[in-house]
Amino acid sequence: MSRSALDLWVGFFVVLGMAALLFLALRVGNLASANLSEAYTVKARFDNIGGLKVRAPVKSAGVVVGRVADISFDTQSYRAEVVLTIATRYAFPRDTSASILTSGLLGEQYVGLDPGADVDMLKPNDVLQITQSAVVLEKLIGQFLFDKASAPAN
């Protein structure tokens, strides 16, 4: 096989491989949408985070505005401390409240942000004051059974 035909085939092969990688990155993966290069972080403390995981989405009005960057346990207040990374182009008022919600009945858990009415905006490393914990199904069922049992029979 001549040298130029060989080069042509190898070039074709390399371009095909690169195209496959590009397809994987842009069409299959989320490289195109994962634009969190400019972001700020805020903290929120929850009584119970349920099954929230690192990298779970942070949504406001259903739109993904950031990701959960870190989850740790605060031994001062015995609550879970969640670090949220929010894209810089989304500014939120300082009295924004965070709650842990579930998408669908069995879906993944995410952090929902409800904007408040403060005129000042959140600054990096602020702490969200109003939080609402995850709904734990077992607790709900337990409470329901307890209420049933203690209700006066009629």
Binding site: V10, V14, A20, L21, L24, V28, G29, N30, K53, R55
Partner: protein, 264 residues
Amino acid sequence: MSGAVVLLRRVGSVVNAGVARLGFAARFFLLLLRYSGQSLLRVHLTMREIYFSGVLSLLIIIVSGLFVGMVLGLQGYETLQRFGSGDALGVLVALSLTRELGPVVAGLLFASRAGSAVTAEIGLMKTTEQLKAMDMMAVNPLARVVAPRFWGGVVSMPLLAAIFSAMGVFGGWLIGVVFIGVDEGAFWSQMQAAVDFREDIVNGVIKSFVFGVAVALIAVFEGYDCEPTAEGVSRAITRTVVSSALAILALDFVLTSFMFRGVS
């Protein structure tokens, strides 16, 4: 008493031979890296090997990727649909291909298609004393014969794995969206939401690169180390395929346990 001694001696000799071979392989690898510079100067030698191990493996990689993806589409839909989440088919196909099946199956195919050919070629060169003749002519066979084949394999493998994964996703799409009728928007959007570029795709590429190094090294070493007889060459080829497969699976477990620990 003497029976036990003979048995112990045999165990010892097997272990000693294994350790010596491992040491030889390690020194071989270092020498190979040392002489790679020389061989990469004459880049057309490596180009030729990329053609033989990469371009000629394209057909089997594309066809297998397509069929693996289509089977994943059928089986995955069958199971997911029981839980009412047939829309998640894209996630299942894409994650299993980019994380595991792409690098591993492409690696196994590459070992049996290209690795065995490299071993046979080098083994036959050794048997017909071509390597010795090169040495006599002051041409280093490591730089002239072995290194280009090694680098050809290392370059080809990640590209082949990427092509395999892409074809698999296409196969899953073909079955899921075109034949079964999963909603196309849900198929792609759920896939894009679940597959992370760094966690899944880059890790898959790293895996395929490591497999490429392992398979190419095993193939050239077995060829270079083979007994210079017809039987020796055939045994070396068998060993290449078997130890490549074992190395890929073992390395895959090690890499997976480092990469996906705690990632949900």
